[in-house]
Amino acid sequence: MNRLMLALRGALQLIGVALGIATINFFLLRLAPGDAVQVIAGESGSASPEYIAALRAQFGLDQPLWVQFCKYILKLAQFDLGYSFRQGTSVANLILARLPATLLLMGTAVALAALLGGLLGTLAAYRAGRWPDLLISCLALFCFAIPVFWIGLVFVVIFSVWLDWLPVGGMYSVSAGLSGWALAVDIGRHLILPAATLALFYMAIYTRLMRATLIEIRRKDFVRTAVSRGVRPVRLFRVHILRNAALPFVTMLGVQIGSLIGGAVVVETVFSWPGLGRLAFDALIQRDFNVLLGILLCSSILVVLVNWIVDALYRLLDPRVRTA
């Protein structure tokens, strides 16, 4: 019964969030000056008033706002994200086509960042105040402060143009016509620079977070008690410290995975990576609101789902949460 109630509450919460997000975004986006037809007319340069009117009618932009809104919500209720007239295909298709690239890039980057950040943060915390800590903290600050696009471009200049080790951009070599393992290797080669660029930024966050948390926990009474009890350092770290430090870490991971769909517009742009971030950005510039609404909605649903998972993880990691 309790579990059923929980599930029901969760489902209601999800629907509420989705509906709220859809409504707010729908009206918020309409505040932006100009519409899709204007952009298209602007690009073609020589549009006649008749042509503009014909396009508006086709896009449904000639109807009152509330009619447009009702139609949109009705479609959503049928799990239809709508149609992009500009791109000439359904929004779901557009998003699905870009999703693998985004997941690959963001997944790799976040995993890499969490791993490296955790390691470096731990190292820094254990050598707090000494030169390894100083070095790591400086590196983290550096990565955090430098604009991502600049790191990306410097990587391109060094590794692609000067050393000629890696391709400049794109997701795979189009003209090579590879398949199977060769293709996987090719994608891997294209992935290295954008993933590393993005990971460096995230890594800085994890490093700083991990270092601060560990330093704090190592000063706690229960750690001192454990040390005096004679618990060996490895076990002390694994059982007493890491598990406590994992809470903020997991929270941060949750936040970042939640923003996964939004992608990384800047890195995707610098490396011509065909991800969702660029799709959303282009959609905004082109006032292709159906696409933008679709991406925002998917993104918000992902945030809700990730939050559930993070909550579950809390319970797993920390017994105090379970009883609360």
Binding site: A32, P33, G34, D35, Q38, V39, I40, A41, G42, E43, S44, G45, S46, A47, S48, P49, E50, Y51, I52, A54, Q58, F85, R86, Q87, G88, T89, L94, A97, R98, F149, L153, V156, V157, S160, V161, D164, P167, V168, G169, G170, M171, V174, S175, T269, V270, F271, S272, P274, G275, R278, L279, D282, I285, Q286, R287
Partner: protein, 571 residues
């Protein structure tokens, strides 16, 4: 600077004979214009060498026999949104679509017309009947034959209904006869001198009737997987990443194209575009794809060449559009003063790295037939500017400021932002304070052409080969405030100018039209609703082992069918 603002065509020709005459005159003047200002460049700037290199490279290398094979990788930036130019006149679509489709008539490097899908064409003496004799044995990429029915159907159902500019061009075409499968006779109700020059693959793209008839044309799936008759077949489009074209082995122009494949890569970042070209991953990028500074550096490399030909057809000019309904700015003396306050030569060098030529008229100097060099001149003269401002009653206040304005700029790239900054400085010198405002394209067009809530904006239009096509829209009063992008931004109303434009449109006499357009230039350069600053010059960055890359004055919107690699095995 990636998007063309207008895809309109040349409407200059009245008959093939006058056409030839006009075009030859243009070619001669073209050469002399370059000869005229090249030496002064040579003396001062390293750019001259680069420019000259571009010119010499433009001469086709006919000595060698073209070799077949290889893949050409091209930058597509921005990514096209639709792949059929019959339904969109935006430049990304134009640069792609003309490889899949053919023109009825093509241009050569001297503005002459040459056969395309139409082997012969003739316009009757009264300019009311156009006969096209179509090529035999041309097939669509799906194997169906190309016939007169396709042309008739496209004219009646696409050009007249959806094509932004052909709607006007073919408005008077009331009847189309197709006596046989290879003859099209178009009857116009009024003389239509312009129509012949609008039949290239970008201007009048013929769609396959058998795939479009009876469908929702704007949403036809073939819009994004086009079936044409052109040198290359559409293979795939991976949105946000790339587009692939494959050689059409059954192309009617036997032996062409030479390339096996064309890959368009979407590279949104300017730095990444530079890197991709430098590394040789990309071999061709048109419409000034890089900041001029980067282009200058790349052109020093042995594997890269800068090309400035193939854009003649666009005749682009950059100008300041002034809102003539604003206080201060509505006084013509203030507009004259602002014009005097701008050092156009310095502007050209500082902002555009020497590309282009200072403009004195909205009709660019390369259009010798129409360009009027005797229009009122407004040389750089700060003292005169100050005097004019004083005279207009805009005196300096206690802080030295006369009045404040906002400069908006077309958000098409760095050069436009720097233009606004340059102007801010120039105006400050004469006591006019300016704020620079940035916004995205839809907000911009809305502000200028819809709400008309602006003071001064930096803008450019394509003038094309006939002022009627691209120039008069800046001055005609019928489009003011109707939210039609790239029309009359200043809000300038002059009955005399409207009359001149109408007369030129209805005239069947080219000499008379020239006279009318010169009178128009005199008038608008006196009234100054907009201040022409620069005749823009685009460049293409291309691999130096790529040959025959310019085969028409409209190459920028032309096909790659004549391109070939010196050593195809390397690509």
């Amino acid at each position: 600077m990636v998007r063309d603002d207008c895809g309109r065509n040349d409407r200059r020709c009245q008959s093939p004979v006058t056409c030839l005459r006009g075009f030859n005159a243009l070619r001669v003047s073209n050469v002399s214009a370059f000869a005229f200002h090249t030496p002064s460049w040579l003396a001062r700037s390293a750019f001259a060498a680069l420019f000259a290199a571009g010119l010499s490279a433009a001469l086709p290398v006919h000595a060698a026999t073209p070799k077949s094979g290889g893949t050409l990788t091209v930058i597509a930036q921005p990514e096209p949104v639709i792949l059929t130019a019959a339904l969109s006149t935006s430049s990304p679509t134009a640069t792609f679509s003309t490889n899949v489709f053919d023109g009825l008539i093509e241009y050569d490097n001297d503005f002459n017309l040459k056969p395309g899908l139409a082997e012969k064409w003739s316009l009757s003496a009264d300019g009311k009947t156009l006969t096209l004799n179509l090529r035999h044995g041309v097939n669509w990429h799906d194997g169906k034959p190309f016939t007169a029915g396709d042309v008739k159907w496209t004219l009646e159902n696409v050009w007249k209904k959806y094509h932004p500019r052909n709607q006007a061009l073919f408005a008077n075409a009331d009847k189309v006869d197709t006596p046989d499968d290879h003859t099209v006779i178009i009857h116009f109700t009024k003389p239509s001198l312009a129509v012949l020059s609008s039949l290239n693959s970008n201007g009048a793209q013929v769609l396959p009737r058998h795939l479009y008839e009876g469908t929702d044309i704007l949403n036809n799936p073939y819009n994004n997987k086009p079936i044409g008759t052109g040198p290359f077949k559409f293979k795939e489009w991976n949105r946000g990443s790339h587009l692939v074209l494959e050689r059409n082995p059954e192309y009617w122009d036997k032996g062409k194209p030479y390339l096996d494949r064309v890959v368009y890569r979407v590279i949104p970042d300017g730095g990444a575009r530079t890197a991709a070209l430098e590394k040789g991953e990309v071999q061709y990028a048109s419409l000034s794809p890089l900041p001029a500074r980067d282009a200058q550096r790349l052109s020093q490399l042995p594997n890269i060449r800068l090309q400035t030909k193939g854009y003649e057809w666009l005749s682009p000019w950059l100008f300041l559009s002034v809102n003539v309904e604003r206080p201060h700015l509505k006084d013509v003396r203030v507009r004259q003063a602002l014009y005097h306050a701008i050092d156009r030569e310095a502007y050209r060098k500082v902002v555009w790295f020497g590309y282009g030529k200072s403009a004195i008229s909205p009709v660019v100097s390369t259009l010798t037939q129409f360009h009027d060099a005797t229009v009122p001149q407004y040389a750089f003269d700060v003292k005169k500017a100050e005097a004019l401002l004083d005279e207009a009653g805009a005196t300096r206040g206690a802080n030295g400021e006369r009045f404040r304005i906002t400069i908006d700029y077309l958000p098409y790239g760095d050069e436009f932002r720097r233009s606004a900054e340059f102007l801010k400085q120039a105006f400050k010198r004469v006591g006019v304070e300016a704020d620079v405002r940035n916004q995205d394209t839809p907000s911009y067009t809305r502000r200028i052409y819809g709400d008309r809530d602006y003071d001064i904006t930096v803008q450019w239009y394509s003038g094309f080969a006939d002022p009627q096509v691209g120039v008069t829209r800046e001055y005609q009063s019928d489009s003011i405030g109707k939210n039609i992008p790239f029309s009359n931004g200043p809000g300038y109303r002059n009955a005399e100018v409207d009359k001149l434009v109408a007369q030129a449109q209805g005239s069947g006499d080219q000499a008379e039209r020239v006279k009318l357009f010169k009178a128009l230039q005199q008038q608008v350069q006196k009234d100054l609703p907009s201040l022409p600053l620069l005749e823009l010059q685009f460049f293409t960055v291309e691999a130096s082992d790529l040959n025959d890359t310019v085969s028409g004055v409209d190459q920028v919107y032309g096909s790659f069918k004549n391109f070939w690699y010196t050593d195809p095995s390397k690509h």
